[in-house]
């Protein structure tokens, strides 16, 4: 085995060389603390475009509520259609944020530190979009609280045996715990912003938001224990959320849905889509704010590796679905599989899905591709499209042709389906732009801890192993 030298180990670094606590503060907090006049032009342009799409979102909701779900293309037999496809798509995207912040913290991966904050923000905004879809899909969204167990004059409880009610609990818990986790992580950084504020207004705002945090050793002790426990609690939570969504399908008896592979395969798909979105957001963000020394090639490389690994699990899921259909010997399952792959109506969707989720990620085996931001950005967009197609294939192909040919039907989307879907991007982008403008997009307190650690030890266990084996000369 040859020792890799030169710029290879430079790109292995979790943070660039020569960082100090003060430098991290300056680079992360300056874009947040500058006055409105110094807000970059691209931010205003981005906000205007996002607000445009957000208006489309609001108009679509008004049209939907005043007219009824008939404005959408979903009808019997395809009652789920775009609203549920988009719901599953958005919630899947959210999962990478929690995985980065919780799972990688528990696994002591130091590279998570500079991407966890904005990935968690991404989670929350994606869950907002996802959570609104099933509510709008109810048809009478104003009575969504009937899903909650509350004392009522109907004398009824919701149906606790139904996965659709499990969904409510899973997503409700996921949304609130994600917000809590994010906010707890923000408290010390908000205190830093308070201490660096340039104006009375900023000082007041960040002082209130930071709750009066003073960074005492006692406070840090409880803080760290709470943060660790929140991570330990969030990790199984994130696995449960997409498993529950998968059970919406798996517990039903429809061909192509009633399959035990669904929960793990949905979770892998969620992480896959989520890391794609992390890259879509991280690559422009590090460029725009000059964060290349904090979000390094190492982060892009590792995210790409995780994307490749979970992508291959998803591809395995596609194969298992087809194998199961054949092996079950059930006529309807076999027909569904045939219809999915070669059926006249939607064969293109399946093959496009394979192109996006299997073929397009193969270049990620190469280090040069994983360390090329442009290539990663493009692959991530393709993966996002692929994951949308996956949900489209699962939902509409099963529903259009299930058991009785007399009840078969087609699914055609409408203008309002797409207007609402594109509108969700407006909501997501608006929230994200406000987030990067008003809050630190990198967890500065954690980064300072990492800088301290990096100065005294090697920040990466793998780098430590390499040093132990090859000695210092392996580094440039």
């Amino acid at each position: 085995m040859t020792v890799r030298t030169g710029n290879v180990s430079e790109t292995q670094r979790v943070i660039g060389r020569g960082q100090t606590s003060g430098k991290i503060d300056d680079v992360v907090n300056t874009p947040v603390l500058v006055g409105p006049a110094k807000t970059p032009l691209w931010w205003w342009i981005g906000l205007m475009i996002s607000l445009g799409f957000l208006s489309m979102y609001l108009i679509s909701i008004v049209v939907l509520i005043t007219t009824g779900t008939g404005v959408w293309g979903n009808n019997i037999p395809v009652a789920w259609g775009m609203p549920i496809i988009n719901f599953v798509w958005w919630i899947g995207i959210g999962h990478a944020g929690t995985l980065i912040s919780a799972a990688l913290l528990l696994f002591r991966q130091p590279w998570r530190t500079s991407i966890n904050r904005f990935a968690e923000a991404m989670t929350i905004f994606a869950v907002v979009n996802a959570g609104l879809y099933p509510i709008l899909h109810l048809g009478r969204p104003w009575v969504f609280y009937w899903l909650l167990p509350y004392p009522n004059t109907h004398g009824l409880f919701p149906q606790f045996r139904s996965p659709l009610d499990w969904d409510l609990f899973a997503i409700g818990t996921y949304a609130s715990v994600s917000v809590l986790f994010w906010y707890i992580g923000l408290i010390p950084d908000l205190a830093t912003l308070r201490d660096r504020s340039n104006s009375k207004f900023q000082q007041f705002l960040y002082a209130i938001l930071s709750l009066g945090w003073n960074g005492s050793a006692r406070a840090w002790q409880r803080y760290q224990r709470a943060y660790l426990l929140l991570a330990a609690i969030s990790f199984p939570l994130v696995l449960s959320v997409h498993s529950t969504i998968a059970m919406d399908f798996a517990v039903s008896q429809l061909p192509g849905w009633n399959n035990t592979v669904m929960p793990p395969y949905f979770v892998a798909g969620a992480v896959f889509a989520g890391f794609a979105m992390v890259l879509i957001l991280a690559i422009p963000l590090r460029k725009a704010f000059g964060l290349e020394k904090l979000i390094t090639m190492r982060h892009l490389d590792n995210s790409a590796k995780l994307m490749l690994a979970t992508g291959m699990i998803v591809v395995y899921g596609y194969l298992v679905e087809l194998f199961d259909a054949w092996y079950s010997g059930v006529e309807f399952e076999r027909f569904m599989a045939y219809n999915r792959v070669l059926g006249a109506d939607h064969w293109w969707a399946f093959w496009l899905l394979i192109a996006c989720n299997f073929v397009a990620i193969q270049p990620l085996w190469l280090r040069s591709v994983r360390q090329n931001p442009m290539a990663l950005f493009i692959i991530s967009i393709i993966v996002s499209i692929g994951m949308w197609l996956e949900r489209f294939v699962i939902i509409s192909i099963t529903l259009t042709k299930d058991f009785l040919p007399s009840s078969w039907g087609d699914y055609v989307t409408t203008f309002w389906d797409w207007a609402l879907y594109l509108g969700t991007f407006g909501l997501f982008a608006t929230l994200f732009l406000l987030f990067i403008r008003l809050l630190p997009s990198i967890a500065t307190a954690e980064m300072k801890e990492l800088v301290h650690h990096d100065a005294h030890h090697v920040s990466d266990p793998f780098e430590q192993i390499r040093l132990d084996h090859y000695g210092k000369e392996a580094r440039p």
Binding site: R222, Y223, S240
Partner: protein, 190 residues
């Protein structure tokens, strides 16, 4: 941030108004050494203020381990029991209804919601207990009167020995802290 930003240390705080003496360090190792020395000298009512969590600093200062983990465990168990009870009560006692021939207490169906409520309760207990026991939200704390304390959230480390300590003596404690080679020692007004 350099020293030029820092206000001069206030030296004429009357005894009754004095919260403690704060030493400012620019290296975490210096703070750790000072914390060790203060503990050896017998000080107990003291706290350190750092921009990031410093591993083992709580032990150096003699802070007892937090009970947060046990509280969260109890909250989780209560959440699990409550979550399951809610579903069992609704389906077995309150409105028994035959759904698909399942037994009334079809417990496997109740696991997901039980789990989610366990998570919800334990997570919020962890977060809110941490905030509450840390005395947050808090509008005023004397330590913010220490000169240059705003750097404690950036790259400076503070050790404050408080007047309520049995051993606190204005002159002796000042000497002790100055012997730890800080950037400065300042009086903190209550």
């Amino acid at each position: 941030m350099s020293d030029t930003h820092a206000a001069q240390a206030v030296t004429d705080v009357p005894d009754a108004r004095l919260y403690g003496l704060a030493a400012e360090f620019d290296e975490v190792e210096a703070l750790e050494a000072a914390a060790d020395a203060a503990r050896e000298a017998g000080y107990q009512a003291m706290d350190a203020y750092t921009p990031y969590p410093v591993e083992g600093l709580d032990e150096r200062l003699g802070v007892r381990p937090t009970r947060l983990g046990w509280i969260v465990l109890i909250a989780g168990i209560v959440g699990a029991l409550l979550g399951f009870f809610m579903q069992w009560y609704a389906n077995v006692l309150f409105y028994p209804l035959n759904i698909g021939g399942k037994p009334l207490n079809s417990w496997p169906n109740f696991i997901v919601i039980t789990f989610e409520i366990t998570v919800l309760l334990s997570a919020f207990t962890a977060g809110l207990y941490m905030i509450g026991r840390n005395g947050l939200p808090r509008l005023y704390h004397p330590i913010f009167n220490a000169p240059n304390f705003s750097a404690a959230s950036r790259d400076r480390f503070f050790l404050c020995i408080e007047t309520r300590d049995a051993q606190f003596d204005r002159a002796a404690t000042l000497n002790f802290l100055e012997a730890q080679q800080p950037i400065r020692v300042s009086e903190v007004e209550r």
